[in-house]
């Protein structure tokens, strides 16, 4: 893993972001190692989702650098960034509601032109997400939240990404699906895809993550191996014990 010049797949360094006058990120630096699951924790309005948007090129930082596999992503459009190998599972899933499940999953392969391999990958998705098999011709908008999350994950995998960024993948799901989603993230990761996920539910995220960062009003206040953070009293107070989980 450390044989290349750097084992960081994605690196944000000293990113400052503004919405008009308001500063959202203050010298944000985050590293996602190859093959790792990294999780960004934080409450509402801490700047988590904006971090996702920075990575995907949907929002431009005012200063700082974002590199993927050593090359800068700054100035690239979202489609160009997707072609570099970053796929996304957006917040609230954002499926194409009036398209069929099958079409949604295939939209994930939009940047690929190897038709036969895409067809094989579709079959692979159906073994990974067996429930979707019977739903293929259904409107995506008619699925339950959990099923939609499966479609969103299958859609992201279809581009054969090197990294998937996920915005609150467990939000609004029933406990049963939450476990299922976490298990799937682990499976995906074991197949070699790095994962960067944004979560409010710290205890769940720290279960599966290798490293984690805690974001508070645009600043990283804590970071380190997930195991260590899990036992850190500051995290426990702020995210595990306090107002949210109790």
């Amino acid at each position: 893993m450390t044989n290349s010049s750097s084992d960081a797949l994605l690196a944000l360094s000293n990113v400052n972001t503004f919405y008009g006058q308001a500063q959202v990120h203050f010298d944000l630096s985050i590293t996602v190692g190859r093959g790792h699951i990294v999780c960004l924790l934080g409450g509402n309005a801490s700047g988590k989702s904006t971090t996702m948007k920075i990575i995907l090129g949907l929002v431009k930082p005012r200063s700082g650098e974002v590199t993927f596999d050593g090359a800068s992503l700054i100035g690239l459009t979202t489609p160009q960034i997707v072609r570099r190998g970053i796929a996304s599972v957006p917040e609230a899933r954002r499926l194409f509601a009036d398209m069929s499940v099958r079409e949604n999953i295939l939209m994930g392969a939009f940047v690929r032109s190897d038709r036969d391999a895409v067809a094989q990958d579709l079959d692979r998705m159906l073994t990974l997400f067996p429930k979707l098999g019977q739903r293929l011709s259904q409107r995506a908008g008619s699925l339950s939240g959990g099923e939609q999350q499966m479609v969103a994950m299958a859609r992201a995998l279809m581009s054969r990404p090197r990294m998937i960024v996920m915005d609150e993948p467990t939000m609004g799901l029933s406990p049963l699906y939450v476990d299922r989603v976490l298990e799937l993230i682990r499976t995906i990761n074991q197949e070699g895809v790095s994962v960067f996920m944004v979560e409010q539910n710290a205890s769940l995220a720290l279960e599966i993550a290798h490293e984690a960062y805690v974001l508070q009003t645009g600043k990283i206040v804590l970071s380190g191996p997930a195991r260590a953070l899990k036992d850190d009293p500051r995290v426990r107070d702020a995210y595990l014990g306090g107002s949210e989980a109790a």
Binding site: L56, T78, V82, R83, P90, R94, F96, M99, F110, S159
Partner: protein, 607 residues
């Protein structure tokens, strides 16, 4: 004597033509949430390119269709690339205004190239009719139906089976998510504009052949009909646009069968208003479908208005007040009188569109109501002209507000469509209500302005009168904006949900704005009627509504002083440079485009 079958066939054929326009509008709306008011201009361009091909180049029919489709597509691509793409991150009203500006420019360019006189566009098919049941059908009918059905099939295949078609559908459903799948949204926009323009252009050519006549008035009509069909079918819904078009064609055709030709458009716009009020998402939208407009967010460019010191305003008012005392020509006075009349209309529109955010495209209707009321009061009931003008203002306030009130629940672009339709309806009612309005003949012999028994005939006295009225209206409006009422208006404009959460009744405040605005516009129309001494249903047309909107944007939306400055600039400058009348509309269109692109907040800033 035509049979019902004939009317049905005619309705379906016309519906097919509308469908070619409406499908393009629906594609564009789907992908970029934009109502493309330039669609009719592309249709016009298509008709004239068809004329060049048929009459001058003598191309055979299949080649004519290809030439028209290809050149119209190029026009569409140019519009997308240079007119709209630069506005991607602009306020939401910007692209809508840009398409209006583009349509002015295109229409005028066609008019300047080919002259405004109608031309014959011969059909290239044999002139025979076949008996079908109780009706007849000709080769051109079959061609139009064939083109319609073929285009629908091609479009279906494109959207369902091609990669770009998938990208179009995905972008229409969720633009951001589509980008995250690697879809290049600019390419999607390009594709959609190209297709829409090709279909629109062919449609214009077919209509030209159908009626064997083309002229530049076709443009606005086509845009209006396409928008009606599209909204009836559900904005952004492509199959809905086809069904909406056929329905519109049939409604019009049967309406004509029962009531006569001059009622054709009335039925179209009534259908639109009914659908907008009862089912704003269109006839086929499912109940759970999200409204196609974002719920909050600024529609109008926010800015800090330019502060003008009070002494400067007083000085300017003083100078204009004593202007007639200097040796100025009647021509100069006449120009300023026009500016003051337009200024009153602009005051009205800047309140309605700028302060409370209801961008009206049918404001000329308020002029017409005021003008007809004042003219008829003074002619039929011998009401003194001064009172009659006030009566015109009151009638515009009351009737205008009553007409728009069913549309108060609409937002953003939909308000513009509704006001456009209501404007057309007013003009069509004037045309058809002969017993009161004297129909197409118009009203002549309207008595000149008078005040307390003294006739105002000299340009000097008319100048003073109109200037004084405008200043009074401006002062009233300034007071209004400074009061809590003005704040409530702006709150509703900036976030109607938050405003409602604070207990503001949207309907009441929108009514108040339209009442005040209607009065100012009605007074302007009333004065104009007595100045012109003759008015008809075309005296106050959509072009004037758009001119007023350009004035208001030039001055800065919501800005009282800006409305007057804008009027003087747009009326005065073309006079100053002696620009020929036919270039003026072109210049207005270019001004609108440049403003939207480079200074959406106007000269003096929005308030």
């Amino acid at each position: 004597m035509s049979s019902w079958l004939d009317y049905t066939i005619n309705g379906l054929i016309v519906g097919n033509v509308y469908a070619l326009v409406a499908v393009g509008l629906a594609l564009i709306f789907g992908v970029s949430r934009l109502i493309n008011f330039a669609q009719g201009s592309i249709y016009l361009v298509g008709a004239y390119i068809g004329w060049v091909a048929v009459v001058q180049l003598h191309t055979p029919l299949p080649l004519t269709i290809i030439v028209v489709a290809a050149s119209a597509a190029v026009v569409g691509l140019i519009i997308e690339r240079f007119g709209l793409r630069p506005l991607q991150n602009s306020v939401r009203i910007a692209p809508l205004l840009a398409t209006i500006g583009i349509s002015f420019v295109l229409d005028q360019l066609v008019m300047l190239t080919f002259s405004p006189n109608p031309r014959a566009l011969p059909s290239q098919l044999p002139d025979v009719r076949f008996q079908v049941g109780g009706g007849t059908i000709g080769p051109l009918d079959l061609l139009i139906a064939g083109v319609g059905i073929t285009s629908a099939l091609l479009l279906f295949v494109f959207l369902r089976y091609s990669k770009l078609g998938w990208a179009v559908r995905a972008t229409a459903q969720d633009r951001d998510a589509a980008m995250q799948m690697g879809v290049d949204v600019n390419r999607v926009n390009q594709a959609v504009f190209g297709i829409a323009a090709a279909l629109g252009g062919v449609s214009g050519m077919l209509v030209g052949m159908y009626y064997n006549q083309i002229d530049t008035a076709m443009s606005l009509q086509a845009t209006l009909k396409g928008v009606v069909a599209e909204v009836v079918g559900g904005a952004g819904n492509v199959p809905g646009a086809v069904v909406g078009s056929l329905l519109l064609g049939l409604v019009e055709s049967y309406g004509v069968a029962v009531f006569g030709t001059s009622y054709r458009n009335l039925f179209a716009f009534l259908l639109l208003v009914v659908v907008l009020v009862l089912r704003p998402n269109g006839l086929f939208a499912s109940a759970r479908q999200a409204p196609p407009e974002p719920l909050t967010g600024t529609f109008i460019a926010p800015s800090r208005p330019v502060r003008i010191p009070r002494w400067a305003l007083l000085a300017a008012t003083g100078i204009f007040a004593i202007l007639p005392l200097f040796p100025v020509s009647f021509y100069v006075l006449q120009t300023f009188i026009n500016a003051w009349l337009l200024g009153m209309l602009a005051l009205s529109l800047t309140l309605v569109a700028g302060t409370i955010g209801q961008v009206s495209l049918g404001h000329a209707a308020l002029l017409a109501i005021g003008a007809y009321t004042s003219a008829l009061l003074s002619l039929n009931f011998s009401v003194p002209v001064g009172l009659a003008v006030i009566g015109g203002g009151l009638m515009s306030a009351a009737l205008g507000t009553a007409l728009i009130s069913p549309s108060f629940r609409l937002r953003g672009h939909y308000v513009s469509i509704a006001t456009l339709a209501i404007g057309e309806i007013v003009s069509l009612v004037i045309l058809n209500w002969e017993s009161v309005t004297r129909g197409p003949i118009g009203i002549s012999g309207i008595p000149p302005l008078s005040l307390f028994g003294y006739e105002l005939i000299s340009p000097t006295s008319i100048y003073w009168f109109s200037f004084a009225v405008m200043i009074v209206l401006a002062l009233l409006q300034g007071r209004l904006l400074g009061s809590h009422l003005g704040r409530s208006f702006r709150a509703i404009r900036d976030d109607d949900i938050a405003a409602r959460a604070y207990g503001l009744s949207l309907n009441r405040y929108k009514s108040l704005a339209f009442i005040f605005g209607g009065f100012a516009a009605g007074v302007s129309g009333g004065i104009a009627a007595h100045l012109y001494s003759y008015i008809n249903h075309e005296t106050f047309n959509t072009q004037q509504s758009i001119l007023a909107l350009t004035v208001v944007i030039l001055g800065g939306l919501g800005n009282v002083v800006g409305a007057i400055v804008g009027s003087v600039a747009l009326v005065g400058l073309p006079e100053l440079f002696r620009i020929a009348a036919e270039y003026r509309i072109l210049i207005y269109g270019i001004v609108l485009l440049l403003l939207v692109r480079f200074r959406p907040q106007g000269l003096l800033g929005t308030m």
